[in-house]
Symmetry: C2
Subunit: 257 residues, 2 copies
């Protein structure tokens, strides 16, 4: 079985009654996140067993367990009874398109029905907002991808995607056209960037003329505007995505509690 198992000894602070007290399992969680961030634990592979981690960190299995529990509910790690605990990856069919919430009443916009056409991939000077979010230095750039996504052979989504150039060197139109992977899978494989969480802002807007033409609707037709900021480990923003969704046959589904 392929797995992550480099042995590193770390020290855990067991002090109590300090000023700002952090429970042990939170410290373990942070250590695990560091291992993910540093690349010690690689996407798709198994991390050391709970017993092993308990021994490494000198805590009980229950404490490791609670740390993994949280990372598991955050979809950062995936537990598989009888097999082990694995680093979540965008390659698996179940999590592909997990951030695309377009559905019909009968099916989800999944891999089989989704097909994307990249229109352009250019290097640009970032806006002030982009520079701050990506923590870019004055002379650094962003890469902008424009594309149209077809669902059930209907043009349904137009997107403008921005990523920080320093983390995505050699991201080109050729690569995007060669690798017919979902974008987040490609980010993972080629750039080692794992997007694990995102915030979205939704509005209803009038279709601008150029987008209207691409989606086969008249100018001014209502589209769902989805502005997304996607984050990797450590709450670092790694992608800004402005999408316009045609919601005639699909809707954006959401569950609240």
């Amino acid at each position: 079985m392929v797995k992550n198992d480099k042995v590193v000894t770390r020290r855990v602070i067991k002090e109590k009654s300090s000023a700002s007290f952090s429970p042990l399992y939170k410290q373990i969680k942070d250590l695990l996140l560091q291992s993910l961030e540093s690349g010690e634990f690689k996407a798709g592979l198994m991390i050391p067993s709970e017993q092993e981690l308990a021994a490494r960190f000198q805590v009980s299995q229950g404490t490791v367990r609670k740390a993994i529990d949280e990372l598991s509910t955050e979809n950062v790690l995936i537990r598989r009874q009888g097999k082990g605990t694995f680093v979540a990856t965008h390659h698996e069919p179940q999590v592909r398109y997990r951030f695309l919430r377009l559905s019909t009443d009968t099916y989800h916009a999944d891999e089989k029905r989704a097909q994307s056409i990249v229109l352009s991939c250019t290097q640009q000077t970032p806006t002030e907002e982009q520079r701050q979010l990506f923590e870019l230095k004055p002379e650094q750039f962003v890469i902008c991808i424009k594309r149209v996504m077809h669902l059930s052979n209907q043009p349904t989504v137009y997107e403008e995607i921005y990523v920080p150039e320093p983390s995505f060197q050699h991201l080109t139109l050729e690569l995007l056209n060669t690798e017919k992977l979902p974008l987040y899978s490609l980010f993972e494989s080629y750039f080692g960037v794992q997007l694990i969480r995102c915030d979205e802002k939704l509005r209803a807007v009038k279709a601008p003329l150029d987008v209207a033409r691409m989606l086969n609707v008249e100018e001014g037709y209502p589209l769902l505007s989805v502005n997304r900021i996607a984050y990797t480990y450590g709450d670092k923003a790694m992608e800004i995505r402005n999408g316009l969704y045609l919601t005639e046959h699909y809707y954006y589904r959401n569950s609240l509690n």
Copy 2:
């Protein structure tokens, strides 16, 4: 301290290795949900302590704890260290409007800035979809509420709300106009109906003429259509709400992971 503390002894099945095995803590969770559904545990009040429940159900505190953990992450119960565990209520400011996801970049659409004007409250024959969702008998009705909600003194949301009449007898326009409570607080106080979860379907649509006038926009202006089904304990649908949001100054925010 006011609390829920009627003593009821229940028997817990501790069998293992059965056909479809359900862990003890899941059984405890179901028992707690039954107590909530039956009204034994009342909204806003404290439930028995973990120790008490452990004794009642003849299991360890850890097992009760895990059951409460799940109900707590589902926002059904709320833990307060040093005080106790409480039944979530829509009366508290923190959870008021917790299902209304309209924000600006600076603030959330909270109580202080929200004001709703009820236009009508009528009894209607349900549609086939409504009849099925609410499990209504042929001769039973739904109540339909139409209202406009103002945010920051601007008409922003138009809603048509449907609830099953048998569970909401004597819900009248007078009551809605008298009690200036958020709707879900009113449902809780007057009808003992706790809405704890909902599913939403979002689309961008053209404003119909009548709604356009109410929201001070021209006919056909893009609005965010939000179709919600809200559920109480036991996944029973208790409300259908079709909203049209003007997203000029506010947006619908969402977090995915």
